[in-house]
């Protein structure tokens, strides 16, 4: 899916959330939004899946403005977008299998949705098992999510998004709960899995070094404004410093 921001702004009343952000992300591209907290990364991601409407400007996903869609149309668009939230949004007292299945219900007819949650089909379970295997947690298929470690839960959330067969994957600070080694592993996995499927990947990260090593294109944000939009290998240290410089301090 192609995502394009055209002077998209979000005004939260007090401070500025996002200020006239313009960028275009091609189908199959992997892009990381980097910058300090409060820079507007989450707002940008939420605008893509229609969770937040720009106060002015426009965000288009494959030429469609999510904020203008009817409820049913927005739901249809969302079934093609896999989102991994910062808080993961898993149901702790349901099994891994049901959590993953739940993410795919939007694509199913009403009857099939209920049926597959109440009595999961073997075909679904086999597919989920295969994907869990890919992420090294196949043996957790029937375990309750609250019995898994934080890293394992993170993977379940990724598998849930993948099981939607998304054409666009969004992830807001997906590494915040992981230790440094795990972070690299998971980030590489994100980029690899999205590339395998030909899905567009847009994620927000605060670890600039990690983003530079693993994600091909980086967009720097500060106070809701784009600071740079560059290939990782072209990014200079001055660019990075510009993101985290204390306001008012001499460079």
């Amino acid at each position: 899916m192609v995502v394009s921001f055209d002077r998209a702004s979000v005004d939260y009343g007090g401070g500025v959330g996002v200020d006239r952000f313009t960028a275009r992300i091609e189908a199959g591209e992997a892009v990381a939004l980097i910058g300090p907290s409060g820079a507007g990364k989450s707002s940008l991601i939420r605008m893509v899946h229609g969770g937040l409407a720009p106060t002015s400007g426009q965000v288009l996903v494959d030429g469609i403005d999510p904020s203008q869609l009817e409820e049913a149309e927005l739901r249809r668009l969302r079934t093609e977008i896999g989102v991994v939230r910062q808080d993961l949004g898993l149901v702790p007292n349901l099994s891994v299998a049901r959590n993953v299945l739940a993410g795919s219900l939007g694509r199913r007819s009403r009857f099939a949705a209920w049926r597959s949650m109440i009595l999961p089909r073997d075909a679904d379970l086999e597919q989920i098992h295969a994907r869990l295997e890919r992420l090294g947690i196949a043996d957790k298929l029937f375990q309750r999510v609250d019995q898994l470690s934080g890293g394992e839960q993170q993977r379940v959330a990724i598998v849930r998004a993948l099981f939607q067969d998304p054409r666009l994957m969004l992830a807001d600070e997906p590494l915040s709960a992981l230790d440094p080694t795990r972070s690299r592993e998971v980030l590489e996995l994100f980029v690899e899995l999205a590339a395998e499927r030909g899905a567009t990947l847009l994620l927000s990260l605060h670890d600039v070094e990690l983003a530079r090593e693993c994600v091909p294109r980086l967009i720097g944000l500060r106070d809701g404004r784009m600071q740079f939009d560059a290939k990782s290998e072209d990014l200079s240290d001055a660019d990075v410093r510009s993101l985290y410089r204390i306001a008012g301090a001499a460079d």
Partner: protein
């Protein structure tokens, strides 16, 4: 420094406690309550002693001098009555749950909440919910504002005495209370999983059932167990209306001044609640604890 000064003379919490104390004092004086009312009346001191003395040796056999031929042994009657009490409570609770669950779903705000498109974060209520929700809430308030003993009076007066009426008398107010508390638990359940499912394109009803309901279920289960315990007590008291639960025998024994029997019945009720409590604690730790 002003910000550090204590509000004088008492803060908001202190004021609330003060209000409770004053209301309590007014109630006591209007009702004419005094601690001397707890002292046994002159001449009744013997009765007082008899009654509490009996607590130490509850009856294991009939206290009456004459027992009808063919009457079952006393302890067998006790066990039967305990079983009857438990069965009545179980029947009432299962009926109450069947009524309460749909009522709770329909009266939870979160089932009807809809995101207003364009207006960020603001929520409105589904059109049908605007009618159904307040109507059902009033209905539920009606169910639980009448105590189960009063429901029993009403139902028995209207339909005569049938065990099902005792079940219904407990089930009606209990389902009202369950529905109210369940709907609050649903509304207060964590919303992260619901939002995640909405972001995956699920309809609001699927988000509610598979994202929100499971989050509230452990609390709902725990609360149902507690209400079951309440139902056991209510079921015992239903005996006052002639149903063969613990209360029926307790009343008979009391009226015949068989205090040792009275204590046996009280202990039977306590045992029933304790056994149920132990059993439910085990179930809960298996289901709910991680």
């Amino acid at each position: 420094m002003n910000a550090l000064r204590r509000p004088f003379p008492v803060g908001p919490r202190g004021r609330l406690l003060l209000v409770f104390a004053v209301v309590g004092a007014i109630s006591f004086s209007v009702l004419g309550l005094s601690l001397s009312g707890l002292l046994p009346a002159t001449g009744a001191a013997g009765q007082f002693g008899d009654f509490f003395g009996a607590a130490l040796h509850p009856a294991v056999d009939y206290q009456a001098d004459w027992v009808p031929v063919g009457a079952p042994p006393f302890l067998q009657t006790v066990v039967r009555a305990m079983l009857e009490t438990l069965l009545l409570a179980a029947a009432a609770m299962s009926l109450a749950l069947w009524m309460a669950i749909p009522l709770a779903l329909w009266t939870s705000e979160s089932l009807w909440a809809r995101q207003v498109r364009g207006a960020n974060g603001r929520e409105s209520r589904h059109a049908a919910g605007r009618v159904i929700l307040p109507v059902l809430r009033v209905f539920i308030a009606g169910m639980r504002s009448v105590h189960e003993l009063l429901w029993a009076v009403v139902l028995l007066a209207a339909f005569g005495d049938h065990e099902f009426l005792a079940v219904l008398a407990i089930a009606i107010p209990f389902s009202g209370t369950l529905a109210k508390v369940f709907s609050e638990m649903l509304d207060e359940a964590p919303t992260d999983s619901t939002s995640a499912l909405a972001e995956a394109g699920l309809s609001p009803i699927l988000c509610f059932v598979f994202g929100r309901l499971p989050r509230a279920l452990p609390d709902m289960t725990a609360y149902s167990f507690y209400r079951f315990e309440c139902a056991v007590r209510s079921s015992a008291v239903m005996g006052f209306f002639g149903f063969p639960t613990i209360g029926y025998y307790l009343k008979l024994s009391y009226e015949n001044l068989h205090y040792r029997e009275v204590w046996t019945w009280l202990y039977a009720l306590i045992a029933l609640v304790l056994v149920f409590e132990a059993w439910s604690a085990r179930l809960r730790s298996r289901w709910i604890a991680r």
